[in-house]
């Protein structure tokens, strides 16, 4: 899902970089403030970044028999919040571009916009909305991961359609072309990522209540432990 190096024309690469910049700068300011107030957070945030990087290296079984990897943006947004994910996502995408040759530096802005900004915000928005209506935690987690994954691909389709409009039908034709190609592979993958995220979160609720409470995923201690025990 990463847009490869050199795939976007220079004007598009710059434009997506400019669009991403305010979110990343805001995230970097939040992170800097957090680290200055609580120096010990550096290590926890670094651990969160490493977790995000490693999560994207997991091979996810696909219904077609092949495998892909999760974006991790939904789980990351629930655990660390979207502003922090904008920074952690940018760091992860930079590492993927330089250490794994996934994505690229000229397409970093576009990839950050889809994977570190829109994906986390869309996933987190759905998660908070469902939790506000007292939807069970695991259902909210599933939809957060599903929506984060799918919205990432929708934005990528828009980015590609803008860069490569169809010769006959223009932007809309190209959007249909890219979105339909992604839909065939990505809807099953988004479901798979949703299910995997639920399984991971169930294990975390059982084994890491302290960390989840500290991260604000399980709010009131009493309610959290009740919910964890019930599961």
């Amino acid at each position: 899902m990463h847009i490869a190096e050199g795939f976007l024309p220079p004007a598009h690469a710059v434009a997506w970089g400019v669009a991403s910049a305010p979110f990343v700068v805001h995230g970097a300011r939040s992170l800097t403030r957090e680290v200055r107030e609580h120096p010990e957070s550096t290590l926890l945030l670094g651990a969160s970044g490493a977790f995000t990087f490693v999560l994207s290296a997991l091979k996810l079984p696909s219904v077609t028999g092949s495998c892909s990897h999760p974006t991790g943006t939904g789980l990351g947004a629930i655990l660390f919040r979207p502003p922090v994910m904008a920074v952690l996502g940018t760091i992860t995408l930079l590492f993927q571009a330089l250490l794994l040759a996934h994505g690229g530096l000229t397409t970093l802005g576009a990839n950050v916009f889809s994977m570190a900004i829109v994906g986390p915000w869309a996933g987190y928005g759905i998660y908070r909305l469902l939790r506000r209506f007292d939807v069970p935690l695991m259902v909210a987690v599933f939809f957060a991961a599903f929506v984060a994954d799918l919205s990432t691909y929708c934005v990528t389709s828009v980015q590609l359609a803008l860069a490569f409009p169809d010769p006959s039908s223009g932007f809309l034709g190209a959007l249909g072309k890219f979105a339909s190609i992604f839909a065939v592979t990505q809807i099953p993958l988004a479901v798979s990522e949703g299910l995997l995220t639920v399984l991971v979160m169930r294990l975390l609720v059982q084994s890491s209540q302290g960390e989840l409470t500290r991260l604000g995923v399980l709010f009131a201690k009493k309610a959290a432990s009740t919910e964890a025990v019930a599961r």
Partner: protein
């Protein structure tokens, strides 16, 4: 350690300042996307391969292993340009200029990828990250990136061992078992990452940690000769493209 970073640590240009390599590698990438794909990107591609295999001394097999990843994405992406949607001949038909557009895109992305690979194969991340502070990136963000970088290898190693243990316990024999194993792997990564961070924090607190991670960065100076030669090479490529564009098009 990941193969590209491992190669960077033993690179011939390991001791060169990252700015030297950025001017050349990232300069080639910028040229690849800015110049007309034919003959500009083709010239950049040939130059990047020559520099990678020649002066930079990157082993051909390692380069191919790294290069085939972006190449796969490029081919898949370029294939979509071969068809068009709508039009008088049918809903989905072959685009008239599709092969040309796909070929140009393939050239551009291949050349741009090789430029970044030239930088990545010669510059270890541990040399690059601490120097980002001088480039204006806030120090706390660089510190977080450094911890992320160093912890990633440990976590990836842990994941590999856990996966082997799961496989030895028939954890991947059925689809259901694979999902359970995968979920266990993700959750264990989280638990281990936070556990390691807590222990690191305790260790650093005992050593008077004040919120700044001080690391030794190998000393290197920006080479004026190397940077000037790189700039001259880039200028020559740009000039050659402009000269050859009309006769070759």
């Amino acid at each position: 350690m990941l193969p590209i970073d491992a190669a960077a640590h033993s690179s011939r240009w390991r001791r060169r300042h990252p700015v030297d390599k950025a001017v050349l590698g990232l300069g080639l990438t910028v040229l690849a996307i800015s110049l007309p794909p034919w003959p500009g990107a083709a010239l950049v591609l040939l130059t990047a391969v020559a520099v990678l295999l020649g002066p930079a001394g990157v082993p051909g097999r390692r380069l191919w292993r790294a290069y085939r990843v972006p190449l796969g994405f490029c081919v898949t992406g370029a294939a979509t340009l071969l068809v068009q949607v709508g039009g008088p001949d049918g809903f989905v038909t072959l685009a008239g200029d599709g092969p040309v557009r796909a070929g140009e895109l393939l050239l551009r992305t291949s050349a741009a990828s090789l430029g970044v690979l030239l930088f990545a194969f010669t510059t270890p991340m541990s040399d690059l990250l601490p120097r980002l502070v001088k480039a204006g990136v806030p120090a706390p963000v660089v510190d977080v990136a450094l911890v992320t970088y160093r912890m990633s290898f440990l976590l990836l190693d842990s994941m590999r061992r856990i996966r082997e243990a799961q496989a030895a316990r028939l954890g991947h024999t059925t689809r259901a078992a694979s999902w359970r194993s995968l979920a266990g792997l993700g959750a264990t990564a989280f638990v281990r990452a936070f556990d390691r961070a807590t222990r690191l924090q305790a260790g650093l607190a005992g050593r008077g940690y004040d919120g700044t991670l001080r690391v030794l960065v190998p000393e290197a100076r920006i080479s004026v000769r190397f940077t000037a030669a790189s700039a001259a090479l880039l200028a020559t490529l740009a000039a050659l493209t402009l000269v050859l564009e009309r006769p070759l098009t």
